[in-house]
Amino acid sequence: GGGVSSDAVKVGVILPLTGSEAMFGEMEKNSFDMAYEELKAEGKTTIGDKEIVLMYEDDQGRQDVARSATEKLVNQDKVAMLSGGYSSACTNVIAGSAQTLNTPFLIVTGSSDDITKQGWDFVFRGTAAPASMYTGAFWDMMEKVVKPQSVAIIFENTDFGTSSSKGFREECQKRGINIVFDQAYEHGAIDFKPMLANLRSTNPDMIFATSYVMDASMIVKQMKELNFDTKLFVGNGAGYTMPEFYQNAGAASDFVASTSLWVPNVSWQGASEYYEKYKQKYGKEPDYHGAQAYATMYVIADALNRAEDLSNTGIQSALKDTDIQTIMGPIKFVDWAGFTNQNEPNTYVVQWTDGKLEVIWPEEVKSADYVYPVPKWSER
């Protein structure tokens, strides 16, 4: 298992640095580095006479490669613990191997519900919510504001898309909301209009969509082209909260709401500082993926500093005792609703206005009032 070499505390970080998910890998790596430097300045990267060292490995977005990376980090580099994990597929594999190899693994992004439902006690998920839980705050808003009779669900047929729409679907059924349209699509399409035309004829009160970055903007742009009015369009995080969404969709992004795990102007301490600093340092805006990595680095440093010894079990129990405030809110690893070592996520509902993402729910932390129902295209 995870032994430790004498002069360094090695932390293996597995991210997609090449391949189609590399954009997020890059953002998360940058954020790790940024947090590391801050911690270093505070002297929190040295434990006794040992320096924390981050060892990045590229998983290329492929789970067999993720497996190789895990094997290498644990068996060859003898890391003290693992972190990273972007896609659910890779995270699944890293988590499984980490558990088998008795090495603590702190997940950054991978959000498939199943990962923390296996009872794996070496696997921790702090900054990422289980996919089906992204909608926490939104259900509150649904009850109090939206009160839809009928909803339509569209989602990309990926793990994240299927898991999160499944959660939403079950919740709808529980509350007796009528699902009039429910369809998956393959991401990367040029033309969503046939699906949208079909959807329009079912006339839902509200649309709930889970999409990859650019599909999100393709969908809202084409709704605008179709003059397709709906009282509320809600994205499920992911594509709908990223800066690129607005850059590509432009005016079509107005009034699109979304669930979110994080926004720069959320009231947690350090959030907006992180956002500004990142933008300055790397020349572009980070989104919640970056925040996840940044916060995770803080959790790691905290746990390592508290650990009684730097053995695998020592770090494991230090992680278990985590209670820390981060830019993503408080993080604790608890067992609940079938989950193991899963932080209870903070979720928000955000809405685009003029290219700005405003928090509209929960009301305690809102940065702007919600707009509901949204104006018709013809009236904008």
Binding site: T18, G19, S20, E21, A22, M23, F24, G25, E26, I154, N157, Q183, A184, Y185, E186, G188, A189, I190, D191, F192, K193, P194, M195, A197, N198, S201, V213, M214, S217, M218, K221, Q222, K224, E225, L226, N227, E244, Q247, N248, G250, A251, A252, K284
Partner: protein, 295 residues
Amino acid sequence: MEDAWIKFGQTVICGILLGGMYSLIAIGMTLIMGVMKIVNLAHGALVMVGMYVVYICATNYGIDPYIGMFIAMPVLFFLGCLIQKYMINRLVEVDSILPENQVLLTVGIMLVLTEGIRLFFKSDYRSVVTSYSSDTLYIGAMSISVPLVIGFIIAMAFTFLLHMFLTKSDLGKSIRATAQDRDAAIFMGVNSSKITMITFGLGAALAAAGGSLLLPLFYLFPDVGHLFTAKSFIITILGGLGSTWGAAIGGLVIGLSESLGATYISMGYKDVVGLVMFILVLLFLPGGIRSLVKR
């Protein structure tokens, strides 16, 4: 009833316009694979590089994508020529057990192009938003995207030009001749290495044109090419190797099948419908659409 017809009309319009887009991207492939018989897995990557050229023109110099196309095309022509001259031509000249070893080379080229671009531009999603990106025409309740219509028209124009080029000009004929019998073409005084070089260059330039026209309504990242490579293959084969109009019609067939599939089956199955259509055509028309149109 009324509603159902609108839905159908919208679906068909979308299918045809989408098909036009597919044809546009497949047209360079028609030249490289259909005529030259080089299975080029780097095709999508060439489309992608072309898009980046247009992107740079648009963001750094404020050049409209439709004009940027005329910069991207020569750049990609040049790139294509280099690839053919220094890499693929080497393989054409040796006798290998499976001629598909070219495939492997193009896989390598694809990796190099994709990752090379990533090194420079990172993996960020980029897009060029123009004033007309979302322009829409309406026929009753049916909407028609203007950039798609432009793309469609240009696709058909390119198909026509390519067809004329291949059948009417000596250079075009030399291209076909070289593909069919390299040595015999040399006997006729054709500089076949130069011809293959130009052909690949032209194919790459057409790929760039496809990318340029797509950019105003789509988006860009280093792996965007993967979305198009397999589709271009399928369209080229569907059309019948070497047939320009066949490929154009093939694009429309795939576009329509996907669109109808998306509306009447499910968006998740739209690609399945396109692929099944492809296989059906091949089984019942073994030479592709070409056996109907005949050059």
